[in-house]
Symmetry: C2
Subunit: 306 residues, 2 copies
Amino acid sequence: MGRQVIIDWAQLLLDIQRHAVKQISRGISLVENEAPGYEQLLLSLPANHTTRIIGVTGPPGAGKSTLVDALIGAVSSDGKKVCVLCVDPSSPFNLGALLGDRIRMSEWYNDPNVFIRSLATRGSLGGLHPKIIEITELMKAAAFDFIIVETVGVGQSEIEIAGLADVTVVVMVPEAGDEVQTMKAGLMEIADIFVVNKADRPDADQFVKNLRLMLAPAFNNHQREVPVLKTIASQKQGIAELYAAIISLLTASHDDSKRAWLLTERAYHLVQQKRMKGIRKEVLQQSILEQLRANQFNLYKFVEGL
Amino acid sequence: MGRQVIIDWAQLLLDIQRHAVKQISRGISLVENEAPGYEQLLLSLPANHTTRIIGVTGPPGAGKSTLVDALIGAVSSDGKKVCVLCVDPSSPFNLGALLGDRIRMSEWYNDPNVFIRSLATRGSLGGLHPKIIEITELMKAAAFDFIIVETVGVGQSEIEIAGLADVTVVVMVPEAGDEVQTMKAGLMEIADIFVVNKADRPDADQFVKNLRLMLAPAFNNHQREVPVLKTIASQKQGIAELYAAIISLLTASHDDSKRAWLLTERAYHLVQQKRMKGIRKEVLQQSILEQLRANQFNLYKFVEGL
């Protein structure tokens, strides 16, 4: 009993809603660790239709972190509150990311509009983060204007970020023209805005040109034109334009259907967890083994009894 | 109603049990197609602890089909009944396999001890065949002495065949010595018997030597020595020795634990299907979308109501 901490979930939610940074941080940790009773907190979250989620993704080395840092500056200068969630699914123990996170935290430490958190994926495979939906829902309660989710664009995480974010920004760096052709199709599909970062590189203009060619409606499924913007994030160049493009897209339309798809997948998974509670594979296996040895096993009879 | 066929499942099982070839074939088709009521048939299957399953796998081009054909001859000469299930997970529409199947069918057409069936995987990814357990259980009811499951060794199907078969035979062909080193670890792990087919190739002996070296207990997890046999299946050479080795392993021990593991996975999946009945993603998605638009959505409240 000594280690049992009684959590006042209602009070925690109130603290989060009044934007108490320490409690916001604690809330994320409790959800991440599935602290007993955390479902209560999630059940009590009010619906929120005003916070907007910006996804930032792209291949490793594209300068996503620097770009997000510059974007934070633009958002904060605009007087808006922003929460940044950094997810790196490629490395469960990414010390570099943790270190970078500390440096970034200290940069924004005194800015009450900015909250940054790295999420360790703990070896979860193929997705963005096992609790990313829950954590973004929690952050919405904290009345942020924007939540930026920053992640490396690899495989399944792309599909998820497209479902999670209201606007998805794909960041690339100029490369030899023919490499654009081999760009991962997934990144192409999900981009609402393309950013060519490090645009002072000599081949940047050719790269942008090739990108625009590939993005022509004839070659892909995009309903509308996808903006291609040039930035030099390390010098804050092009950031105001990027922020304006994001705001413009967010204002122009709000499409809940992508998000509904993602939430459906999650809801289905949660219902499955709920309904399979009490079914433990070790127990099944033991009793199957016993029945096999007794020459009494019939798979369908066995399942019928469960 | 005109197209509705009333199936007498009890009669079908009786026909299968008295080894009526046409009804065996029909039973497989009904299970494959999940004909309404097929669960009844599966529920009524008697437990059977005498039929043994022989898995034959290996890379494409190793001569698995020729080897299985030769093995059929050995089994049939021994007066035993054998069912051969050919699964090719790599090609849902493998016309070559179908054609080969017809040729093989005609070869054994007049042998009442031999039943051969190709199973189309219909694009199921990563596994052996979506109904392979059910079909082997059905074949056990038909009182075969052996069921040979022949499949290309690729990925997930290896794990499944190891769970399904009482003895797993991995077939290889002689290759340059250093290629053995890159042999898929999965095939190495699951082999109870190694067959080096086309053993009249010049580098066969070196290959066998390398294989035995790799199979030394120091290098792997095998509890007992794994026999490495040479065959020239097209000339029926080494087949009697292979059959003897299989019988010897089947007699020496009977381990249900691998099979219990596979059956547990399948049972869990079936329970999941049963408990999720009535939960349709399209319906969830529609109602999530409506609630999102009405700004009323809370994931956890939503799931609580299901």
